[in-house]
């Protein structure tokens, strides 16, 4: 699973810390998601989609080879 969180966060002018606060998670979790080290739960994924005002499939890209 790839994602566009870093790109969208930077476009929104947010730091990892600020995004983490808005999502009520640790900055390390944001860091792990951006680096494809952790796939968030559906609830957190929807929270991110709502925050960036994007459909969820625009944030997370499922790749077949996985």
């Amino acid at each position: 699973m790839r994602n566009r969180i870093r790109e969208l966060r930077e476009a929104a002018g947010l730091t990892q810390e600020e995004l983490a606060k808005r999502l009520k998670v640790t900055r390390q979790t944001v860091h792990a998601i951006e680096n494809d080290k952790y796939n968030p739960t559906l609830a957190l994924a929807f929270k991110m989609a709502r925050l960036f005002q994007q459909p969820i499939e625009e944030l997370f890209i499922y790749t077949e080879e996985e």
Partner: protein, 180 residues
Amino acid sequence: MPVAMFAGMITGILFAGLVGLVASRVNQRRNPEAEDERMAMVKAQAGSTALRIAGGVAFIGWVADNLLAYSRGEAIQTITPWSIMLLAIVAIYDLSLAYFLHQYSADGGEEVTKKDVASTALTAAATLLVFIPMIAHGEFRGDRGLYYVMIGTIVLQVAAVLWLLFKARRSFRSAGGGHA
């Protein structure tokens, strides 16, 4: 086992648990977001790893103890108070070590050096108190073999924690302080 030694061990285990709990609460108060979904997953993985390691070490300890007992011409015991104690102590150690390892593999050096080293180190240090009555006693009467197994476990675990701390600190410094 002398009553004072047994009481010392129990007090040590309880104290270790208490210090771990206080460290965790303090950390949670300072950083309310610390308990997010990913951290819960890391903790669950750590618990599972710790249980497996503790079981493995306890089994090896039990076999080593019985082999030594057999070589001394003593009766083999299927389960001894020491076996149970060993399992409890190793489980406490392994829980903090496994948590540290899982967190390190999930976040690199950043997370562990920023906030969780204190609670891990405190828990490990408090757990060491468990062994003070034993070390002061000098040896276990009739259980010297198990004493060596336990001391070996402590030395290995302390070495592993120090090595991880060193690696984490280096990684934290090379990341320029850890902030993105």
